[in-house]
Symmetry: D3
Subunit: 281 residues, 6 copies
């Protein structure tokens, strides 16, 4: 069960409204790697977590923090939209800068939300459940979490350069700091899990079953012209768990057959073998 307290986690005080920037902020609220994504992802991972309590507790700590980040971004967008009005569009005909702003804002901030944040990205695409994952495998999911915080911090950093409003920037700096910590946090969790189970997900797929195919687990297939890719650790080193050495296959040959599928039953109406019998008049 959850509780809410009225203060925001960090202060959100915009110096002056900026409806165009409000549109851009939507990306880190309701976009693929926005705060709604990390909030829902950590909550679902926490709700579904089976096993060691410390991971579940940690997921609930951070998932609960992220609900408050969605709250902060809604406050940020509301302030950026303060005072905007539908009549601005009508006024834009006379003034190119106003016109440019009206052209660039998200029309739904006026028409749909009445100056509030929306559960959508910077192009108005609604947030959806396929942005998140909670797989029941902690290592897999924490790699997703590290990734999400990396993309999230990258986007906030880019956003930071789009404004000089010191109020906005102060809030973004807090978010950059938290995203920095969350990257450290998931790296630490990943380190624990990899030390325990090994680096390959899933850890428990039986090695015997894989024996036949095992050589394929160490080969780099060079399928794009040029061999610059032979210079990386993936081509010259050993598997991180010491189970094998990488092989660079410079001229790979397919190992499968030329596949000739069966002709389907008549009632699939494939028609290639149709006898042409037009309807009688």
């Amino acid at each position: 069960m959850f509780r809410h307290q009225k203060e925001l986690q960090f202060e959100v005080k915009v110096e002056r409204p900026d409806p165009l920037f409000a549109r851009q902020v939507q990306e880190v609220l309701g976009g693929q790697f926005g705060e709604m994504t990390v909030m829902m992802q950590y909550l679902f991972q926490g709700f579904n977590c089976r096993g060691e309590e410390k991971y579940k507790d940690m997921l609930m700590d951070i998932g609960t923090e992220e609900i408050g980040h969605v709250e902060m971004l809604c406050a940020l967008i509301s302030q950026l939209m303060d005072g905007a009005s539908p009549e601005d569009q009508e006024a834009a005909a006379k003034d190119p800068v106003t016109a440019a702003i009206m052209g660039g804002i998200n029309p739904q901030h006026l028409l749909v939300s009445g100056l509030g944040g929306l559960p959508t990205n910077s192009n108005g695409v609604p947030w959806n459940g396929n942005y998140i994952v909670a797989s029941g495998n902690l290592l897999a999911d924490m790699r997703s979490n590290l990734h999400a915080e990396s993309q999230g911090r990258l986007q906030v950093a880019r956003l930071y350069h789009m404004t000089k409003d010191e109020g906005v920037r102060a809030t973004l700096r807090k978010m950059l700091a938290r995203d920095r910590y969350h990257q450290y946090q998931w790296m630490a969790a990943i380190q624990e899990l990899e030390e325990k189970n090994g680096v390959v997900v899933p850890a428990t797929f039986p090695g015997e079953a894989e024996m036949e195919a095992q050589p394929e687990a160490y080969k780099f297939w060079d399928l794009s012209e040029g061999n610059e890719s032979s210079e990386g650790l993936w081509a010259t080193g050993s598997a991180q768990d010491g189970s094998g050495d990488f092989v660079y296959v410079a001229d790979p040959v397919p190992q499968g057959q030329v596949y000739k599928p069966e002709i389907p039953p008549t009632n699939i109406h494939h028609d290639l073998d149709a006898v042409k019998v037009p309807l009688k008049k």
Copy 2:
């Protein structure tokens, strides 16, 4: 530019058709972490790659390999559907096992694709472009790639247990081996990039700008009851780049204000301050 050769990368020879299993295979073809996702993700990352040639070449190598994995899975689904016919549903009324299969199959395998693979997941949800990312930051993206291969291999491993068909399993073993290699591969690439730039994405956001907020970059906020989360490396250790030590904040206090937004302009029709003036008759 691309070229195609007729042989499949690995052999795909199903022992016997299994339309119900064909539905499940769709998850690793057109689902969130299926082969379409890694194919499109690596190709877009490769197409958009700016800078060191060896990464671009490597992305094109593996992106090109993955197109062939989509091809293999379509061949697998076609074989699993071989001989299935719409009339099976009509026959199902008499036989509970047939009925169960008809109840469980993806109706679109009969009605829409005529026994072929679909660009959708195991519930029929279409693949979409928001499954992938190509951000222009290599470390961020390679963390996504490592994550995608982790989820992908996890799903293939689960799928492996759903069938005893040795033909299917032979193909899945090859995929498991490749997904193992691809996890090693992205780990190796990540290691190279982290050694060069540091572990936090993005590396180039100016440290000075973050100074004010820096303490927030090392704090764990305990916002969920219980302190089991204090036991992890994220709570007790140091940042992976040595830039600070983690602090476990057991009783966090909000730092922001209680936010009171402005009343919007009249033409937003907020109505809370409306004077009730009904239309005259």
Copy 3:
């Protein structure tokens, strides 16, 4: 079965083209609460209506009217786009106002629809079937209808302020009037149904089954700091059907357990209990 007559329901005569406004109008054509939504919602409710004929007939009357509203909005958008041309973008480099308009228009009005209306909202997101509901319970659905007309009229009112074109405004006034009537209409239908069945949906869920949980049906749980919420009718009054009095629970305590889920079977590859056995070389 349906028939079409050539005249529009109301006149649509724009004074002058305005491609930027054409984009905004898309919200009330193909957005969440646009005319496509009410058209499809009332038609599906009418098609699926089981029981009293007067409701079905009424739903078909209004659903049929709304097809004509989609028609009117397409005419409106076509007129707003009249004369626009792809070459305007090329010309925009020289003139800031033209540039602003080109920046703000929906590029699909040029590239995809060739100056016509699109089945999408003001941000280009396609209309989808999840905007509507036809549940088979008339009271539930008519509450949805009242809601849809409320949001619809709100959006048209906001849109009205974005233009001074008297031709556009004349059409919008007709729509505002119809949305006003449709709010009255659904309120009248709701009144009839509530008088007959009571105010809670569904009316027929057996009261006995609910007895155990009944106290929960009258409690307000104060889960957000502050008790301003105690001042409303929901906290101080009685249930609208007289079945109980509301209780404001100022300091609510959870009634459930701390949930500890089972460890899943091995083949789910949860991995927390994995024994680390790397592949042999």
Copy 4:
């Protein structure tokens, strides 16, 4: 800012696993009117609320409660999936009942979530941001809330009949009771707002502007054959705000023109006026 406590709001103790029912429960978790919808809708309405504090506080109370309902439903689904394994499908070939269950379950509960809840509906369609609304007009939004609780309770009631598991039913009874209260709650809030502002949304659209179109605000257009619809209060009564009397137009005549759109500029490539000039050889 939010906090989490470990206990569930209400007890969730399933008598026995039932993977098929787990699929159905997804509808009220991640469907159009599931708990994710009311959670996100109330939170966004609360975050964006401008004006009287008691409404904002009330929205935050209930939005915070609903996060806990999502938590409860994830616990319910986890318990319904307990012990399920991918190998069940393989076993299903021998046993029709097992086969039927395997045919009917959501394959993503095994492959994707590893026995946990998903942010999707009963057919696997991901939850998306277009399920919710926060318009900045309280009366409009509270009509949406009343509607959402009506559909939600209707679906839970239907779900209740699909199981005889007394553990599941006990949890559903609590949800039915809360959905009952929430219907009362929104009705009470609506009553307050309607008394203050009048019943039409938005209240503040200037009546003068509507004068021209006003007669249209009271007319029922009979556009579907049959006149059963003339029997309702919408056809025979007065507007709820006393501003007019309803008129049943039995044989409505269109008031608009036959619309003849302009021929578009050449560069739209409309082609109807094309002069056929094939490319020279």
Copy 5:
């Protein structure tokens, strides 16, 4: 403006309910090529049609017919669901055939629509506006229409084999006949337009601009191993408008450059050129 009459276009009388088949019928109601698609596509093409009146009138005739087809399919689904009840699932535990049906039905037919048709496909994916096109170029759109009727009739034909219910089949036969006519109809319209404007869309793109690239307009690039493709009319014949002869390029060579993109500005945080400066402690 539209009107509705009460009779269905064709009789819909199912011999007996069949909830499993009701799910499959959703494909031709709300799927990619279902009746909602052709209805909305023809209506939007008609609403947006600029120019010769006979095409607009024809589009409105057929678009209006298709609204009635959606109506018929909703009636069909309602009858197929007649008498189904949520309690059937509970009963299914005892009877494998019932279990299979419950496993196979669309749970939303019970939970969401209360036994009615849904605006979704056979897997529950909502219909969306991207299924349709109205481009403002008649020849392009009529090719889409011919295609949609081809896929639609193919799906209805496959569906026909899934049932032996003579009532259902009678309705499907009418639909097959109409889809046959509609294929003839669009072929006739295409023939008229091709005779007038030539066969390439758009007809009016200036030939001079294409001169430089013109040789590419007749070449078949053999990019897949094997030369079976050299046997078709596309490799051996002439352009249908006589403007050139096809050339089979058996060993195509790329004509473009190896593309080396620029390094982006620092504030994009590309990071490849990052100087590793960790935050000071």
Copy 6:
């Protein structure tokens, strides 16, 4: 299996960056009829092709070519975005033309992709699998292919007029030429298949079954006021396969019944027949 070579199929050399035009180009990359669509459509048709080898080989040739077109468009967009920076938005406040450009660009080109192409359309809507079809019926699918190339070339032609950059135009000319050839190509394939099987899809649906409904296969129903539609070949000619003559039904009468659906079981909670029994206090 596939291979990649480093050169682009055609040269892509933009004269100067143009971030606004980069947004428009997204339509033909990731839109409904963009290069991702034809790429995935031809590949899936090729992968799933059962039967005559020459069609499969041809589909693989062209599907493989289209992967290279996606590559070219990503190169085009990258060049159009060269040098753009988030700080441009901040600078826009001073300069109306810059402001207009910033208002019009796709914010995701900066925030999400870091100056690269995205798998989305010109409004940022993600590409999805429902844009394509691979039905297992070659004639149906090739009609789709002809249609897709018609819409694709139409959009590229419109795009061509939006720029005067001769580098961009040179690339677009190549695309226009290829889209011209691909229209010829599909017309040639369609001609072959129609000569073999007849013009109606599917060819193999048994004519006997259709006998009852056959008259409906030749009738034009005039359901929209006006009879301009009687002037087309569809109203006055014969079926293209000579199986019948078209009949223009000027005053069509419905042939079906007025449908009265059954009242549903109580547990559907239809409620119209509810006896009002409120909960006891």
